[in-house]
Amino acid sequence: MDLDFSADQRDFRDQVRTWLHDNKPRHERPRAAAGIREYDLAWQRTQFEGGWAGISWPTEYGGRGLSLIEQLIWFEEYGRAGLPSVDANFVGLNHAGPTLMTRARDDQKAQHLRQILAGEVVWCQGFSEPGAGSDLAALSTRAEIDGDDLVVSGQKIWTSFAHVADWQELLVRTSRTGSKHQGITWVICDMHTPGIEVRPIRTMDGEAEFCEVFYDDVRIPLANVVGEVDQGWSVAMSTLSFERGTAFTAGQVRLASTVEQLIELAKERTGPDGRRPAIADDELARRLATARAEVAALRAMTYVGISRSARTGTPGPEGSIVKLYYSEMVKHVARLAMDILGQDGLRYVSRWVPGGWSGNYLYSYSQTIGGGTSEVQRNIIGDRILGLPR
């Protein structure tokens, strides 16, 4: 049990902090997808050029080749600097990238990995379908082999940034024999290929962060398949737990900062009795204190997760515990903000601007659904961690 960082790691933290302070984007982030693409890519390029992209990625792909501890330090300082979530680069950095590293051919790695780190391309995910949500393996977007191509027809949904993406990690069905987990292929899809149509989905908070993607005889070279044809389920599963591992670290730091902002808000605003500040209300004060305690414990759990990963070399199913707790907590904190605001919570303020508590409240509903619902996480915890019968 050790919370001390080595002298090198402390140096690293100082360097990160200094660099982020000196180089972080100063102008306001646009709200339209095209603008976000340019903003996020430019910021990623800045990081890459400064030598800060891919802290724990191997140096051969342009990363820093450091350990998960340095990755943690990066995420912590990134979150503390109040920087935006990686959004447009999320799939490339946290999902497609690690998958390619683990399962792709050398030429595929050479083509894509450095581009991702360098902020040259945006990736999106093509997993979920209208009929295959929690039951991902039920996907039915079909791909026929025709010469050297896969010819893809079907539909994907909940694809963030599809309308501005260059590449997509796409799961298609190449065979219908055997169990539904067989006959799935993981393929790299060029989003500029003819036959792809993208339609934004408007969400509860009025934003359009997700898309539907329609495929009409889209030709994808067989050379773009990662792993073997029909063996894509194992490729997809090999990195799904990455999404539930350290990727939440920056979010956790951001949540801690949100809780501190709420405590300040409760000191400034009049409470429900119309006289005292909100923080003087025993119930609100205890809910805020509980949030502070829970976010501290969430950090401890993140540290335990990273310690565990550092020992085993790969994130385990325990990531589902962090994901479940984190996303439920985001909802609780968003709700608490609304209870502090009272009647003022009825005024809509986008979550992209300061004081956007009502927008954040609406957005929070997505947290226990996206990336695997809380119910799916509980199944994973029950089945894979506790070994309960299915």
């Binding site: 949500g133 909940w158 509860m204 429900p272 009825l346 609406l362 809380s374």
Partner: protein, 342 residues
């Protein structure tokens, strides 16, 4: 003692429900989201034709002569449909007009010609039989010539034109329009003391009824989806994670419904514990609607998070109604201070 609605009352509710489903489908909220007013003139006129605004106006004044109980059944249907428009303040204003003998206003409201918005004081504001002073939040007051203020001491009508500069404010609910009026110092045009008629308690019951309608609609939407949406080769409702959520929604809806009935009768008959029952109805119904609206999003998964699905309409309206006529902490503070229920 029979706390369930009579056959006549159920008929009345069914007629209203059919009309609203036809003339004010929930999709209308999305269609009109960018209009300046939430009030759909065609549907509003239809409601007047159906007699909804005069439901409990005496027959001699052109109404149907019903009471709080029937109004509660109507507002439950309005809640179920997340109906847009200032129904609550308009119907209560008609009662105020009846009580103070303003026959012209009664007739105009009953005919659907005058809509009345709702106004809520911000901290520091006051109102009494003479004036309203301070900052006001206005709900669905666009195009309404009058706004209604409700408090435990009494109810007041104020001319919108007297409020000075009214600024629209972005609303969390696409079916509700918000506005703000600052530094108001305006005369009250009509005043009804609570001792004469407790319009505030009536408002609590009707708000609670809308919340119950939402709680029920969410239960029904989730149950229907759980029966038809398939994952892993079976309807998702076979999973206890979904089934038990729906069951808890049924409990909440039944509890809220029962308490709204109890409170409606209590207010109508002037029971000694009417205030406790009405405040309890608001708290219990708001809790039911909050829990059910959130569960309904979750049961619908990704679909429940989209603009096209109705789930968010319930979530947002619950937020508005929770804050209308006092929120949870205010009512709990009174519930613990009042004598025990009768």
């Amino acid at each position: 003692m029979d706390l369930l609605p009579s056959a006549d009352q159920l008929d009345l509710a069914r007629v209203a429900a059919d009309f609203l489903a036809e003339e004010l489908p929930r999709d209308r909220i999305r269609q009109r989201a960018d209009e300046s007013s939430s009030l759909d003139p065609h549907a509003w006129a239809g409601c007047a034709d159906l007699g909804l605004f005069g439901l409990s106006v005496p027959e001699e004044l052109g109404g149907a002569g019903c009471g709080v109980e029937e109004e509660a059944l109507l507002f439950r249907e309005l809640g179920r449909q997340v109906a847009p428009g200032p129904f609550l303040s308009t119907v209560l204003a008609a009662q105020l007009a009846v009580a103070v003998g303003d026959g012209d206003l009664v007739a105009s409201v009953v005919a659907g010609k005058t809509a009345v918005g709702l106004a809520a004081l911000r901290p520091g504001g006051t109102f009494n039989e003479h004036r309203v002073r301070g900052d006001l939040d206005l709900i669905d007051a666009v195009d309404a010539p009058l706004v209604l203020l409700l408090g435990p001491a009494g109810a007041a009508l104020v001319e919108t034109a007297q409020l000075g500069d009214v600024q629209p404010v972005p609303s969390i609910d696409p079916g509700v329009r918000l506005a703000a009026a600052s530094g108001v110092d305006a005369p009250v045009s009509a005043w009804l003391p609570a001792a004469v008629q407790p319009l505030y308690l009536r408002g609590l019951v009707l708000t609670a009824a809308m919340l119950v309608g939402i709680a029920e609609a969410c239960r029904d939407a989730s149950t229907e989806y759980a029966k038809t949406r398939e994952q892993f080769g079976r309807p998702i409702g076979v999973n206890q994670a979904v089934k038990h959520k729906c069951a808890d929604m049924a409990v909440q809806a039944e509890l809220g419904m029962a308490q709204v009935y109890f409170a409606a009768v209590s207010v109508a008959s002037g029971r000694d514990d009417a205030e406790l029952q009405a405040r309890t109805a608001k708290v219990v119904a708001a809790h039911a609607a909050t829990v059910n609206a959130a569960s309904n999003v979750q049961v619908h998964g990704g679909m429940g998070y989209t603009w096209e699905n109705d789930a968010h309409l319930f979530v947002k309206r619950v937020e508005v109604l929770e804050n209308v006529l006092g929120g949870r902490t205010e009512h709990l503070g009174q519930i613990i201070a009042l004598p025990a229920p009768q």
